[in-house]
Structures are given as C-alpha cells and as structure tokens.
Symmetry: C2
Subunit: 326 residues, 2 copies
C-alpha cells in the first residue's frame, strides 16, 4: 500500500523521536522508571500498519492543515492504540501480539498496566499541545471513551456483536480519526457527514473481513491460526449469521461443539464445515463487497482529495480475498 | 477539619452530578457498558478526604479564580486519584480499600482496568474543557506522569524510598495540585516557588506520619492493621532509618526476620521492638515535627490567604500523634 507504507515510515520516525525526547525528560525524574517509555517504544516498533494516524493525517492535510502539524498530531492515534492494545492483551490474557510476547507476558501485569497508562497519557500530551477547538475536543473525548465501552462489552462476551463492531472498529479505527482530521481542518459539516458515512461502511466491511479471516484464513498467509477465534469463543458476525441461517439440526450440532470447554482442531473443522454448508463465507463476502461498493459510490460524491487515494488503498486491501480458504 | 470537610461535601455533590450526566450520555452508546461510570461513582462515594481537590480549589480561589470554575476543575484531581487507586489496587493485589472490596475483587481485573482507564479519561475531559495555558498544561502532564513513575518504582520494590516518597506523595498529593491552582490564577512565580517548598515539606512529613502509623498505629483508631506494612515488606523510611542506626547484631536479627516468607504477628512485634530500641519512632516524630515547623515558618513569609487555613488544618492533622503507640 503506497500511501500507507510511505506514511508509516515517516510516522515511525516522528514517533521514535518523540519517545526518545520523552525518555530523556522522564529519566531526570527516575532513570529506572523511564523503562515504561522504552516498553512503549519497542511495542510500536514491533509492527502495526498505522492506519489510524494515516487516516487522521490524510483527512486533515487533504483540507489544508500543515503537514508537520498533522504528522505531530497523528502520533496521538498510534500512542492511544498502543494503550488500547497493551491493556486489551491483559484483559484477553493474550500471550502473543504481532509475533512477540505481549507486554504483560514479557514483564508482568503491573508493568503492563502502567505502560498502557503511560501511553494514554502521552497520547493526550501530544493532542493537547496546542488547544483544540471545542468540537474537536469533544469528538476526541468521545473517541477515547467509545472504545473503552466496546472493550468492556467485548470482555463480558456481550451478545450485541453489532454494537461492539461499531464501537471497536467502525468508530474507533475509521470514523473518529477521519472526523477529527476534518474537524481540525474546519471542513463543512455536510462533507464531514459524507466521509463519516463512508468510513462507517468501511469499518463494518473491515471487521467482517477480519472475522472471515479469523475462521477461514490461510494460516501461512495470515500468520494467525484459523482456529483461534473459534477457540476463544469470539462472538463474531459469522456466528450470528450462522444462527440465523442454520437448520434446527445444524444448530444442535454447533451448540454441542461450541459449549465444549476446549475446542480441538477437529471441532473447529466441523464448525467451519457447518458454516460452509450454510454458505456463511459466501454471504459474508457478498456483504463485504456490497459495503465496499457503497463506499465507492459515496466517494464519487466528494470532490477529489488525497484522502480518496488512501481510502481506495484500504478498500482494495479489504476486497482482496487471497488469504481466504475457498 | 472544618475547611476540608465542608469542601468535601460540596465537591462530592459536584462529582455525583457530573457522573450522573456522564452515565446518561454514555448509556446512549451502550446501556450495559455505562456500568463503568457507576463503578467510579460508588468508588468515590465510599470514602476519601478530597485533599487533592481541596488543595487545588483553595490554591486557585485564594488568588482570584472564580469559585464555580475552581470547583469544576478540582473534580479532575479526584477522578485522577480514582484512576490511580483502582489500578494500584490491581498492582498491589489488595483485596480491600476503604473497608470495601477493591474493584478488581468485586468484579474482575478486566473491568477494573477499564474502570480505571475511564476515570483517567474523565479527569482529562474535565481538565481540558476550557483550554489551559501552556504552562498549566505542562504541569498537568508532569503531575500525571510523575505518579506513574513513582508507582512503577514502588511496584518493583525499588530501594530508593526517598524518590518514591517524593513522586508518589510530595509531588502528586501536595506540590502539583497547589502549583496547578496557583498557575491557573497566574500567581507570581516567586510566591509559587515558596508554596511549592512548603508543600514539599508537608508531603514528606505526611508520608513519614503515614509510615509511622503503618507500624505503630493503634488499630482501633487507624482502622488498619499495624502489621500490614511490615507483612507487605513495604520499603519505608522507618526501615531505611533503622538500617542506618542499628548495630550489626540488631541488623542481623532484623534481616533474619524480614526475609521470612510470611511474617507472623510475633515477628512484627519483634521488629517493632528492634525499631524502638533504636529510637526510630522518636527520630521519625522529631523529623515530622521539624518539617512541620519549617512549613509554618515559610507560611508566615506569604501574605495571608484562605489556603493558609487549609494548610494549617493539614499540619494539625499531621502532628496529631494520638493514634501512635507510645
């Protein structure tokens, strides 16, 4: 992805520079405690696509915000994401993240809690460096709090999958970073609303693709076990759709498998086969394609800006089903 | 305490009102997830003296800040404290706080992490409602980050007790809330520096008193076991002072006791007796009184304002040794 990968390079340079400065500053208070910054720094350098900072950056620079200022503010989104992931990994008891040990596995829960807290504080430190407008500030508060609500629902295995998808992916990853960029650039509210509608469609499509990959992904391409979502009993849209489409017998077989304490690989194969019988992957793919097409149509209604290119890249990535078992 | 207790009443009213408004707002996103707000609300209503918001409030109103505005901003300090305590309790694996179950004991670790995160976000939501000056914003960032560093050192049983005391108590509870109030009121830097010096002395005295009470407190008055600090192997100034004053034999007895995995009540009595032989409680009391007297002297150098009364109350509380075994 041309735009994202070149953005990532520049963004990471700025992030590392900021964190080095911060480490120096905090080490005057306590040299030993500045390890919290080094943890954040190596976490960030271990991977990630920088999709949220990129969306913010292209949204604001597309409408006239100075590039240096936009780059500086975009760091907020990656630091906030670092906070989310470090705490989420404790909550989900995940041993691995991006192929490396999670922070709490490498250190311990106290250190991971504090490193996550620090990442959130750094996100705010950058965001409020220059006072944002009242509306930008309000959207930023909402952006932060929404994702916590989504995470809470997720942590309790709440059955309302659509609300979780909406809060954790559509709003958090897509709608809010773009909205904040556009609000900062004082874009007309009608244009903001159209972009938000597009980002909502993309957000849901992105999540559906993620759910599909989680169960039907080819492991050597995705780098993630295609059994893990099922084994974690993750309540995804695939399961919801299956429940709506399955016969009483199919549902009975599924429920008997899914209530097992530990799903074996064979159990997962059987569930996948049940899903396939109900054409779930085809239905989900169709829904993804429909949402992507809707987005493309709406994109044409907005005069071209650089943000279009980034969004097209994201859309191309979503409709690439090369990593899906067929 | 006249000033603090009447302040607490008003502050709690404002806190509850804010949290109710917030709960209504967030329940439109997800009714079930707004429990995070209710957790924060009942945590706050379970106790606490509101010393940090009171210091902020009296510091800013003493120098001309509007009372309503100061009260609104003071809520930041109690919400931030709520964040600290909820996360600290997970870190320290404490089952009880203020006589009630800690949040992670009553619910679970994921919910406590998220409730703490939410409290931090609410503290920021209030603090940035009206854009603070650049210097106030910088002090606020420092205030937040310092306490994390202190907590990190504390969680690793770091031997530098003085730095921990400085970060976790002197700066966090006393210096920064007053400094932020004075900076908001644009008080002359020389006056700010004098107040900071006073608050530093008070902070250390307060921590020493807390350490003394932790080992020599009369349980029926303090409501806390006087064995718990020792049993938690808390590295306090009492222990540091003992190590400096003890004979080789006394040190040997102490080390043999302290390295035990679980200290029994008799072991704690023996440690207390070793401390007493080395006149540790008398030395600590003397140091507390000296710091309090230094503060009083410095207080006279600043023209009288309402903040003086609050500080006098705090000092009177610190030099009250009625709960100490003699």
């Amino acid at each position: 992805m041309k735009n994202i990968s070149s953005f990532k390079k520049e963004c990471d340079g700025a992030l590392i520079e900021f964190l080095q400065k911060k480490e120096t500053e905090l080490s005057t208070m306590s040299n030993d405690a500045s390890i919290l910054i080094r943890i954040i720094s190596s976490f960030i350098q271990n991977g990630g696509k920088r999709i949220r900072p990129a969306l913010y950056y292209f949204a604001s620079t597309s409408y006239g915000i100075d590039k240096n200022e936009a780059m500086r503010l975009s760091l907020t989104f990656e630091l906030f994401q670092t906070f989310c992931l470090i705490h989420d990994d404790i909550i989900d008891q995940s041993p691995l993240r991006r192929g490396n040990k999670t922070v709490h596995s490498q250190y311990n829960i106290p250190t991971a809690i504090l490193a996550g807290d620090m990442a959130l504080m750094l996100a705010d430190e950058i965001f409020f460096e220059k006072p944002p407008s009242a509306s930008v500030k309000q959207t930023y508060d909402t952006f932060k709090q929404e994702v916590l609500l989504g995470e809470y629902l997720d942590s309790t295995n709440h059955p309302d999958v659509e609300t979780i998808m909406d809060l954790k992916t559509a709003r958090y990853t897509f709608i809010r970073p773009v909205e904040l960029g556009l609000q900062t650039a004082q874009v007309d509210q009608k244009i903001i609303d159209t972009w938000k509608h597009i980002m909502y469609q993309i957000g849901i499509a992105f999540q559906l693709k993620d759910d599909l990959t989680g169960v039907y992904g080819i492991e050597v391409i995705t780098g993630k076990s295609s059994d893990s979502d099922l084994q974690e009993k993750k309540n995804t849209y695939l399961i919801e759709l299956f429940k709506q489409n399955a016969s009483t017998d199919q549902l009975k077989v599924f429920n008997n498998l899914f209530k097992k304490k530990k799903l074996k690989s064979g159990d997962c194969d059987q569930i996948r086969s049940l899903f396939t019988q109900c054409t779930i992957p085809t239905l989900v793919q169709a829904e993804i394609i429909q949402k992507v097409n809707n987005s493309k149509e709406s994109l044409h209604s907005i005069p071209y800006v650089k943000l279009h290119d980034l969004v097209e890249e994201v859309l191309a990535h979503i409709v690439d089903f090369g990593m899906i078992m067929t």
